[in-house]
Point group: C3
Chain length 130, copies 3
């Protein structure tokens, strides 16, 4: 299963929890583990608080502070900071599925992390049964 | 399966390897992959050295240095640093299980990462067979 | 399945995509999820761009900047920076397998992250079927 995410800024966290929940439901999966996989090298996926959008802007603010925009980068495309953020946050997340529902904590949502947008991106979902 | 972890400091790494090993054994799992999942957004899980407790205090010291305690955070609860650490370290780990035993490297242990304690926390375990 | 990686520098990213692809093929796995697991506490695994080797040197340059080589570390072996990088990058990656092939994005490769080399290291592969 593949879902599409459209980013609108250079760096941005996008809540894709409901899209993933819909895909899992429509695939008729009852229980297992769902892998959310980002096949891009300047993006990532994370699980964090979905209630207050300030949390995701604070996360991105600090990532943008920690990883310098300018440095002695050798990669000539100019997006090395995006590649580095991708490695720190990670290309995949795993979430349990029970009775067709993602087993997330009360405050958790699943976020696409755009580090080199705006772009149209793909996210792959795979489920193994428990 | 759910295990409970009680943290006693604001930031702390807690070894939960033996608790996880016991849960896997008591569930009668012989071989597969065990997901250790933290359903909280101000905590995480990591695998690192269990022999010398200094390693975990060094890890936390540097995380506390990298992620500023004070910044122009918008999230009003005051725990944005904890959310950011959670995204950097990650909500889950996967460990192989063979003959009922976690397949860890010689020096590896599995640690609950408390970033906004002290609190009583839950950790979810799921196992898929290989 | 275990593959061996030999690092030649203190810190280094080593492309092990083709080694992992060969191991998956020779094991006769047709479809599932492949876990790439590093059983070491001063190393890690990441997925990032394989086309331009500059990307991996930029990643390592910034990791070496963010994690101080000298600080009030308590761990007496002197390799605390390696342990901290290991926790930030992570001990495992998951990749889907379809018809015996790793399902990676166009630019993605799988890299062993050496943070305390040079050494001979082991990487464990486990596959669960989808």
């Amino acid at each position: 299963m593949v879902i599409t995410v459209k980013s609108e800024a250079q760096t941005e966290l996008i809540d894709m929890t409901s899209k993933i929940q819909e895909a899992v439901l429509s695939a008729g999966i009852s229980s297992g583990l769902c892998m959310v996989y980002v096949p891009h090298t300047t993006a990532a996926v994370t699980i964090n608080e979905s209630a207050d959008p300030s949390v995701r802007s604070d996360i991105m603010m600090v990532l943008n502070k920690i990883i310098p925009w300018k440095a002695d980068y050798r990669h000539l495309e100019g997006n090395s900071p995006a590649h580095i953020k991708s490695t720190l946050v990670g290309a995949s997340e795993l979430i349990a599925v029970e009775n067709g529902k993602l087993v997330l904590g009360t405050w958790q949502g699943i976020f696409f992390c755009e580090f080199d947008g705006p772009r149209t991106r793909k996210v792959q979902l795979s489920v193994v049964s428990c």
